[in-house]
């Protein structure tokens, strides 16, 4: 290691990172793909969603178990250790249970007889499975804050900023719950997306300087309580917020694409890939992109422009808009799907198939672009009505003003089934007006 280089340790091995790397990105930078093992079968697991949604990159960081390394920034001198591993990182003897029970283990019927052995079995199973060890140190938390406001704006989608501005202009007291600061560019590099994101960005900047607006960054709404208050958590503090109006614009959750071995280290979702690209980390020697046509195409274009060696783009649908001059057309595989990923500990190749044939593609990184499922969890807790959209995803039921069946709660964006950024951005004007009108009627 050179002097002045930023480092942390992973299983006592020194790892160099760059400013802004998350822990798992830094590990990827150093070609370390296995971060943990799955809790039941001890299969190798590594960076996957890049969003904090999945269980694949949990590690013990400075004594705290189950830290999501894909959303935690690396810090100098951190001690990161792998959880769930038994003996060695690369060869874990417990994986034999995966071969002994290829169809899974049903604990309701197995390991319960003879009855006097149940306790013994349970002891062994509990030792072999599960996640993490309890921390030994005391967690320093700050006192809870109770906040009473006119409107609470929750969600990372850009339209939440537009709604917030409408309300801020009316001089209402509002609070914005936001995890990330600003809006970073996505893989979709079209004019419309860029203009929406940059306007949201400048609104956020403008609002952060207003007296009646409070933006609490790096926080998440963690739930709705029975008295109608919303719990919001930062790293070390709980906020309890009572608000007349709640506006929800949470981002959809990218869903995995399933095939045999879909969680093998080396296979990552779109968000994780964007994270690595933005930190200038090489994804791999041979990269394959697969998934929803519009996302896969945009991501493929972005990668090619960054000089990444994309060897194939696999589209899930046959309706893909490509012209012959397109540099993507050589590597595009339309109508193919992934059957399986192969590799002992890390991805080595994938098997793809179409209606008539099957082929093997060697690759060391596969980026999947799954469909996004609306994030309706908070809406459900608030008691909003739920329906099913045409892709059979559950969404929140709203009226023409984007008010949900629970009065005072508005849902604008993918939560209520709007499928494009533009639709959501335009809907924000209607919703903003409706919210102000409603607050006026409430006598604010």
């Amino acid at each position: 290691m050179r002097e002045g280089e930023l480092t942390f340790t992973f299983n006592r091995r020194l790892v160099a990172y760059k400013q802004g790397d998350t822990i798992s990105a830094a590990l990827w930078r150093n070609d370390i793909k296995i971060i943990t093992r799955s809790l039941k079968f001890h299969r190798p697991r590594g960076l996957y969603c890049g969003n904090g949604d999945c269980p694949n990159c949990l590690a013990n960081v400075d004594g705290v178990p189950n830290v999501r390394t894909c959303t935690t920034l690396a810090e100098n001198g951190m001690q990161v250790t792998m959880q769930n591993k038994f003996l060695s990182t690369r060869i874990d003897p417990i994986t034999v249970i995966d071969h002994i029970f290829p169809r899974g283990v049903n604990y309701h019927h197995r390991f319960i007889r003879p009855r006097f052995m149940t306790g013994v079995y349970q002891g062994i199973i509990r030792r072999m499975t599960g996640i993490g060890k309890l921390p030994t140190m005391i967690f320093e938390a700050k006192p809870t804050k109770r906040i009473v406001i006119d409107a609470l704006i929750i969600g990372e989608e850009p339209q939440s900023m537009k709604i917030a501005r409408t309300l801020a202009d009316e001089n209402l007291k509002i609070m914005i719950v936001k995890n990330k600061i600003g809006y970073t560019l996505t893989h979709q590099n079209d004019e419309e997306t860029n203009s929406i994101l940059s306007s949201a960005d400048s609104i956020e900047h403008d609002l952060s300087e207003r007296k009646n607006v409070k933006i609490i960054w790096k926080t998440n709404a963690i739930g709705a309580f029975d008295d109608g208050t919303i719990g919001i958590s930062s790293k070390d503090r709980l906020y309890i917020c009572k608000s007349k109006i709640i506006s929800l614009s949470e981002k959809g959750r990218e869903q995995p694409i399933r095939f045999v071995n879909w969680e093998l280290p080396g296979i990552i979702q779109r968000h994780a890939a964007l994270d690595l690209i933005s930190q200038n980390i090489r994804l791999g020697k041979r990269v394959v992109v697969a998934g929803e046509p519009n996302h896969a195409k945009a991501l493929g274009e972005l990668m090619l422009s960054k000089g990444i060696n994309v060897t194939a783009i696999i589209y899930r649908s046959s309706s893909v808009d490509l012209n012959n001059k397109d540099k993507l057309s050589d590597i595009s595989k339309i109508g193919w799907r992934i059957k399986a990923a192969i590799g002992r500990n890390e991805l080595r190749k994938i098997i793809i198939a179409n209606d008539s044939k099957q082929m093997i593609l060697p690759c060391d990184c596969l980026v999947t672009c799954g469909p996004a499922a609306p994030n309706i969890d908070l809406a459900k807790q608030l008691g909003c009505g739920i329906e099913t959209d045409r892709k059979s995803f559950p969404i929140v039921t709203v009226n023409g003003d984007f008010e949900t069946m629970k009065g005072g709660v508005f849902a604008v964006g993918s939560v209520c089934g709007l499928r494009s950024r533009r639709e959501s951005w335009e809907a924000a004007s209607t919703a903003g007006k409706a919210v102000t009108e409603r607050l006026r009627r409430m006598g604010t």
Binding site: T144, K145, F225, F393
Partner: protein, 77 residues
């Protein structure tokens, strides 16, 4: 969790997300259903069983240290 385990449970008669979850245990791990529930729904739909809107949602939506829930309230801004 494996696909076979879910199918086995469906064959045994667990035919909605809530009871499947209680039998198989998906949705109770570190992702808290963020990634596994949709998979279970897909299998249910494949098996021709009615569409389900998912499991009951309860706080906390993301993992939170117990210590921050146990703090006293303060008035200072």
């Amino acid at each position: 969790m494996t696909r076979e385990e879910i199918i086995e449970a469906i064959v045994l008669g667990y035919r909605d997300i809530e009871s499947l979850k209680r039998y198989v245990g998906f949705g109770t791990g570190p992702c808290q259903g963020k990634q596994c529930i949709m998979f279970a729904r897909e299998i249910l739909i494949e098996c021709g069983i009615s569409q389900d809107t998912g499991m009951t949602s309860r706080p906390p939506l993301i993992p939170v240290p117990l210590a921050i829930m146990a703090q006293e309230e303060s008035d200072e801004e």
